[in-house]
């Protein structure tokens, strides 16, 4: 099997530089590449564009990059939980492209699959559609949306093997499989890295061909954003 392993997060993030475009998996704080984010903060790369469904919270997730003003532009669908984000956006320090969540997912998936553009009804007749090509199919109007172009995709899985095969757990899957393979280099971090041949091929969610580098993250905080429980 082709070995995709790198020793650690430092090796995994080699080649990142100022002005690049990154994709980051996760929904809220669920399934985010915690170790890669910490490394991007450490490397202090500037003027980056981040494609991620959300922007983290003030002191975790992508909020950590926002605090240090590393992000020039965010492409997201929902950014409600981050006060610093809202401040930077309203003051004009941060460029923000808010796009429909399904369009975000499909622009990743299309980039991964070599589809340069696609039509979707989402956002037609709204400000999302302004300046975009539109076309009628089956009596309904659609917008032309383009596949993303990104330098790095940082994804997080539950288990992975040295061949880069990935398995996710729960709703931590979200955008991660759509972003894996959608950038020039895909970096996968996993909670448990095992030798190729250990995982059942039937269970693989993302085949290793979509992953260039894989490593086991040192620690995972897995912070819960909204703890909601029932009494026993």
């Amino acid at each position: 099997m082709i070995d995709k392993t790198v020793a650690n997060v430092t090796e995994a993030c080699k080649g990142v530089s100022d002005g690049m475009t990154f994709m980051l998996g996760g929904f809220g704080l669920c399934g985010i590449p915690e170790n890669a984010i910490a490394q991007l903060v450490k490397l202090n790369v500037k003027n980056v564009t981040c494609i991620a469904n959300n922007a983290g919270v003030d002191d975790f997730g992508l909020g950590l990059l926002l605090q240090k003003h590393q992000i020039k532009k965010m492409i997201s669908s929902y950014v409600g939980e981050n006060a610093e984000f809202e401040r930077q956006m309203l003051s004009g320090e941060l460029e923000v492209d808010l796009i429909p969540q399904g369009t975000l997912a499909q622009r990743c998936q299309s980039a991964k699959a070599g589809i340069p553009a696609f039509y979707t009804p989402a956002g037609y007749g709204t400000e999302v559609g302004e300046g975009k090509e539109s076309r009628e199919f089956n009596g309904k109007m659609h917008l032309l949306e383009h596949a993303f172009k990104a330098d790095f995709a940082f994804v997080k899985a539950w288990k992975g093997d040295t061949a880069g095969n990935l398995i996710f757990k729960g709703t931590a899957r979200n955008f991660n499989p759509n972003m894996a393979g959608a950038a020039k280099i895909t970096v996968a971090e996993v909670e448990e890295l095992v030798p190729a041949g250990t995982l059942d091929p039937n269970d693989i969610h993302v085949p290793g061909i979509f992953v260039q580098r894989i490593f086991q993250g040192e620690v995972y905080e897995k912070r819960i954003e909204q703890l909601t429980v029932r009494k026993k």
Partner: protein, 218 residues
């Protein structure tokens, strides 16, 4: 009396039919799950990647890897399935989801909906709302009939940035059940004890009133 948020959810739950796949938005729509009859089978979809979403976990059993689109910890029912975001929106765009219930800041009489942005004030993003309203055939809006200042939120034309056009079919507000038909609002039911004239006064858009309007039943 105007309905409470729970009562709005309770009335909407009557629209949920056996065999439906249902997507619930954040806020009042989330409460609908609590009022669906036990003798019918439905599956709740959350667009972050689960079908067969269950109630909140018991204290101490929460899993950070299992949340809903509101980022709340949830459980997965027996028979649930998990999937990626592109697959989730294939379910939505591909019209495999039977019913979408979501909140709104404004709805217009031609079925336009605004619920994602107040320019200069609240800019949180649309999340999955634009995909949902653009594709769903069956959309019910849960909302307050008026804002805090008493101004109607059922308008001739929306003043806020739109989430979708010509898409809302039914509204359940704290005052009434209203259908959007032929570019107008049509009054279907009244909240118990709320008069037709009160609803008329709270509705800026054109309101069709035909015959005697029954009270909602719970």
């Amino acid at each position: 009396m105007a309905l409470s948020k729970e009562q709005i959810a309770q009335r909407i739950a009557q629209e949920v039919k056996n065999g439906y796949y249902v997507n619930l938005g954040i806020g009042i729509p989330t409460l609908v799950a609590n009022f669906v009859r036990n003798d019918i089978e439905v599956e709740f979809q959350s667009e972050n990647g689960i079908l067969g979403m269950g109630p909140f976990p018991f204290e101490g059993e929460e899993d950070p890897d299992l949340i809903n689109a509101g980022k709340q910890t949830i459980t997965a029912l027996k028979g649930a399935s998990l999937f990626d975001s592109a697959t989730s929106f294939a379910m939505i765009r591909g019209q495999h989801v039977d019913l979408t219930i979501l909140g709104a800041m404004e709805v217009s009489q031609n079925g336009d909906i605004a619920n994602w942005k107040i320019p200069g004030k609240m800019v949180k993003g649309m999340g999955g709302a634009m995909d949902l309203v653009a594709s769903a055939e069956n959309i019910i809006v849960a909302m307050m009939h008026t804002n805090r200042a008493g101004e109607s939120k059922l308008l001739k034309t929306c003043s806020l940035p739109l989430t979708g056009v010509n898409c809302v079919k039914k509204i359940v507000s704290n005052l009434a059940v209203i259908e959007v038909i032929g570019g107008k609002f049509k009054l279907i039911e009244r909240a118990p004890g709320v008069s037709v004239s009160e609803i008329e006064a709270a509705t800026e858009g054109d309101l069709i009133i035909e015959g005697k309007i029954p009270e909602m039943k719970f």
